[in-house]
């Protein structure tokens, strides 16, 4: 092909693409730059950079004084980390068994997994809450129990998806490696941990990212299970903030920045895996 000239249609295409990119990137830039301005300056002129006299850290000072942001982060990471770990372990074990073992109920169980994707969280939350209350997990004052009360339903909500992704991957693994492990004297459990797990790493990463982000961002379940201040996770804290202090725009901007920037940093480094993880359910196969 000959060298392409700078054509009109190509630049129109780039212009459109850049315009949409602006809509996804600029709002974040805008909120971060305004988090460094006093409230009244945000309303007067929100587009200039916070330089010179405009610059202030007052919003952040207020955010750290009034909001328990660190504790919310700790809770969020603990909950999502646990959800992610438990989902990987349980879904990994189940997928391995569903792919490699031949038994009567196999197809039925797989159908149960697929059907499990269909339940909206709205349709299970009330009985789950009642069930956990009767066990003494939900609605208690104990921090550990509160964490447990939200981790368990979130694990259940992610298992179906995880099993579907993992079975798809494990099915494609050559059985020869398992055979040689077997020759070395490994039982099925050892085969799982020593052969399957290392080989399935990319798919585990996908599942891990998906379930972590899903749990981290899920406000609905948090509204039910994390009602005491010390148990609040990040999204729950933001929701609380917006209903109580919605008019302190500087504080809002600072809080949004504090939540978005860490995610942005992680995203920049792991974007390849994150994009793959989030779309895996749709483009599998």
């Amino acid at each position: 092909m000959k060298k392409h000239k700078f054509s009109l249609s190509a630049s129109a295409v780039y212009l459109c693409l850049i315009l949409w990119a602006l809509t996804t990137v600029y709002p974040i830039v805008w909120v971060v730059q305004n988090s460094f301005k006093a409230k009244n300056k945000i309303l007067e002129d929100s587009f200039s950079l916070p330089l010179g006299e405009l610059f202030t850290l007052a919003n952040y000072r207020k955010a750290f004084e009034n909001l328990d942001i660190f504790s919310a982060y700790k809770n969020s990471i603990f909950i999502s980390g646990m959800v992610c770990a438990i989902v990987i372990l349980l879904a990994g074990l189940a997928s391995f068994a569903l792919v490699r073992y031949h038994f009567k109920l196999r197809d039925t169980l797989y159908a149960l997994v697929v059907a499990g994707m269909m339940f909206p969280v709205f349709a299970t939350i009330i009985p789950v809450y009642a069930m956990e209350t009767s066990w003494g997990i939900a609605g208690t004052k104990n921090w550990w129990l509160s964490m447990l009360s939200i981790i368990l339903p979130q694990v259940a909500g992610n298992l179906s998806f995880a099993i579907i992704v993992l079975t798809g991957y494990i099915r494609g693994l050559p059985i020869e490696l398992e055979e040689s492990a077997f020759l070395e004297g490994c039982g099925p459990v050892q085969i799982f941990f020593k052969v399957i797990v290392p080989l399935t790493k990319p798919s585990f990463a996908t599942v891990a990212i998906f379930s972590f982000l899903w749990s981290y961002n899920d406000l609905f379940t948090q509204m039910f299970f994390l009602r005491r201040p010390e148990t609040r996770a990040i999204t729950r804290l933001l929701n609380e903030l917006s209903s109580n202090e919605g008019t302190d725009y500087g504080l809002m901007a600072a809080a949004v920045s504090l939540v978005v920037i860490p995610v942005l940093i992680v995203y920049v480094f792991l974007q390849k895996y994150i994009i793959k993880g989030m779309t895996a359910g749709a483009v599998k196969g």
């Binding site: 055979e179 982000l213 406000l219 609905f220």
Partner: protein
Amino acid sequence: MQRMQYRKVWIFTGAHNKNCKNENAGGDASGIPEKEGVHMGANIYKNKKPLLLFLLPAFAFMIVYLYYPFFKNIFDSFMQVKELGISGEVWNDPWYSNYVKLVQDKNIWTSLKNTVIMTLVTIVGQVGIALVLALMVDNIRRGAKIFRTMYFFPIVVSATALGLLFNLIFLYDKGMLNQILSALGKEGLTDWKEEKLALFTMMLPVMWQYVGFYFVIIVTGLNNISEELYEAAAIDGATKLKRIRYLTVPLLHNVLCTCVVLAVTGALKVFDLPWTMFPKGMPLKSTFLTGTYMYYQTMIVKDIDYGAAIAVMIVILGVILSKAVNTIFKEKDY
């Protein structure tokens, strides 16, 4: 393949006696394959005892946390549940009273209407914009990766944070949009959250957030279309637009179907962003979606069994909508 494994089976039975220390596996080995075509996999995994260990935890979770509550919820919708966290014990009088209430409740109709609009907006807006952007990216030489990274970013951010962000953008008292508009010479301020504009203000961010998601799916689909087809079409004299119309779009049919199904199921699950921007169906209960109304009845009004009935309605709505989508956009084999 089959044959090779067969061969290995014999090697394995020889080696096995020396090396295998595992009891379970030892049990397996006693059955030296007699028939042809019995392959090794079947041998390693012949002992079904570990199955329970592998399957029980995951399936116990799903039964206890998904299947049981799902059916319990249907029962709850016919019972009196006085408080969140307590199971219903007495039947409603008449037992279907919640469903009578459902039909008569004005807010239910608002929420159904809004949810259907939301579904259409997500199909047309998200998948449509994503398709256009994907077709554009497919035609450029440089920067496709960067665009992908930027377009996908909003999906990673929690919808609650985006809700707060859009509250600032749509602020009446000189938020970002009103500042832009007045800089462009518009007089007076627009109240984006008043009744007429509320739905627009609520749906725009929801739509915007997930465009990148469908964009990635469609771009992946586009990459799977072979370059030769385009070359052949170009030789036959098809213009760029014609190639898109008669080649790309038909070949993307199944990918687009997947997107539409995902958009519909996604639209039914929306909760975080609307609830952050328009809590309690503000203004004047006009912005309820089925999900946010279910939450409102359960947690704010504290009519738990009615909340359960709304949840049942959400399930039924989901089934109807996905059936409709499946009949309209049937997957095809090419």
